[in-house]
């Protein structure tokens, strides 16, 4: 009798669990979209850009974008060597030339790799730092101090940070892409893997550039940066407890932001290519 009831109850419990998990995910997504909507609204309002907010935004941009340039160059260089050397070797073994290899490299870098690497740099350097800073501010009562002085924490803390994440991912993705192409070519050429001249390479690269690349590059960097920024801010401000909880919140925030970036990237690829793997979804 007990076994029979267990057999009946187990699927319902599983469904309940799945339902709860689904609703929790929906809730998270709604929170992120709400924060992003508020950010857009506040950033368009002239009165939001008071002198302290401008200062906070400039400092955040300096830390997230400008200070991250050397890291982006290093990431791009390492990624470029791997991608271009591999692509050249494979095209060699299959008897291809620059006509085959350049479009492949260009699309892989511009449409997928550069936005992803830029997101990794920004989340690793700044996203986790933002979550840590905001959670420490919350724990030490600094958010209450701002609120008590009539300063909206959303305008003063969240909006400048999310905007600077978006701008940083976009700018760093351009730097990563440039670094990947240049370093990849130089290393490949010096090792003899790439045999065509720099002029051929650059003219081939420039020829590959079309408006459709922007359709991939711009949404991927902006949407991924926005999601990463919103997740780090939400996690930082949703801390409950003491300062010993801060490392846990920061680590979780980094993982959640990375997961979101990969998910956003995948969803955008599906939407833009209009196909899921090899299947057309029209």
């Amino acid at each position: 009798m007990r076994l029979r009831s267990a057999v009946w109850v187990a699927p319902w419990r599983l469904m309940e669990l799945l339902g709860k998990e689904f609703l929790a995910r929906c809730n998270t997504l709604i929170s992120i979209l709400a924060i992003l909507w508020a950010t857009v609204g506040l950033s368009l309002r002239r009165s939001s850009w008071t002198s302290p907010v401008r200062t906070i935004f400039a400092r955040q941009l300096l830390f997230t974008a400008v200070d991250a340039v050397p890291v982006a160059l290093r990431f791009g260089a390492a990624g470029g060597v791997l991608v271009i050397a591999q692509a050249a070797m494979w095209s060699d073994s299959m008897g291809g030339d620059s006509e085959v290899i350049v479009p492949l490299i260009w699309r892989a870098i511009i449409r997928e790799l550069a936005p992803l690497l830029a997101c990794l740099v920004v989340i690793g350097r700044s996203g986790i730092a933002i979550a840590t800073e905001l959670s420490l501010m919350y724990v030490h009562g600094e958010i209450e101090v701002l609120d008590a002085q009539g300063i909206d924490p959303m305008t003063c803390l969240v909006m400048p940070r999310i905007l600077s994440m978006i701008i940083s991912v976009f700018c760093l993705a351009i730097i990563v892409a440039t670094s990947m192409l240049l370093t990849g070519y130089l290393i490949g050429w010096s090792m003899g893997t790439i045999r065509f001249s720099a002029r051929d390479f650059s003219s081939d690269v420039l020829r590959q550039f079309d408006a459709q690349d922007l359709l991939f590059f711009v949404p991927k960097t902006i949407v991924a940066g926005a999601f990463a920024g919103a997740i780090c801010c939400i996690d930082g401000l949703s801390i409950r407890g003491s300062s010993t909880d801060v490392p846990r919140v920061a680590a979780r925030s980094g993982i959640r932001a990375l997961t979101a970036v990969f998910a956003v990237s995948a969803v955008l690829s599906i939407l833009i290519y209009n196909r899921f793997l090899i299947f057309d979804i029209r």
Binding site: T50, S51, P52, V53, E133, L136, M137, H140, G141, E142, E144, V145, L146, D147, A148, Q149, G150, I151, D152, C156
Partner: protein, 243 residues
Amino acid sequence: MNATKTSDPLAESSATPCVFRLRRVTLNGKASHGLPVHEVQLTAAAGSLTLIQHERSHRTREFASLLQGLVRPTSGEVLFDEQTWTDSDYSRHFQMRSRIGRVFDGPAWIQNANMMENVTLASRHHGSDSKEARSRMRDWIQRFDIADVSRERPAFVEPALLQIYQWIRALIHRPALLILERPMQLVSTRMLPKLIDATNDLRRDGGCVLWMTNTPIDTLNADVRIQVQGRQWIYIDGGQCDE
């Protein structure tokens, strides 16, 4: 900034508008040692000074937040300048809070900013010119005769000095309501006359002062004196409420 009184704010307070009003307010707060608030009725007019003397174990942070609309009362109504905090017009709430100066019970600094940025942050955010805010801060530093640590971060400033800088932060934008939570907690008593002078100046300009302390201050010319013992609010001077 003159220390001598030109008029008695006490005499004027009955004719002046109400700055804050508590109507049968009860707060079952989170803090276990918070100031007990049960069916409290309190009105403070412009130019008045209300002194609340509480027990040593009481913490006032939640009560002060209640006055600023940061904490919702369990029952009753809190009004500032005859406006409630209960609606969802948050921009108005932030504007209302910008007219309240507060000295917190305990640390209350943005650790990532220096003292100058901290003290002038609210003024600059609410439209004051940066230069003007800085010069006003320097005036207050001179008036209180304290060390200029504008470029230091709060972590590197001694607690007594930090508390005086909290006075400056609360007074710098000439608030309509000044909430002082144990403002002399860490400060030498020789600074008390200077703080009283500053609050008297504010009262003469139409500001209202709410001073909370756990030690009696006889030199204060308070309009309303309240003693909080256990859960009871005992009104020593001044009426309970006009309603």
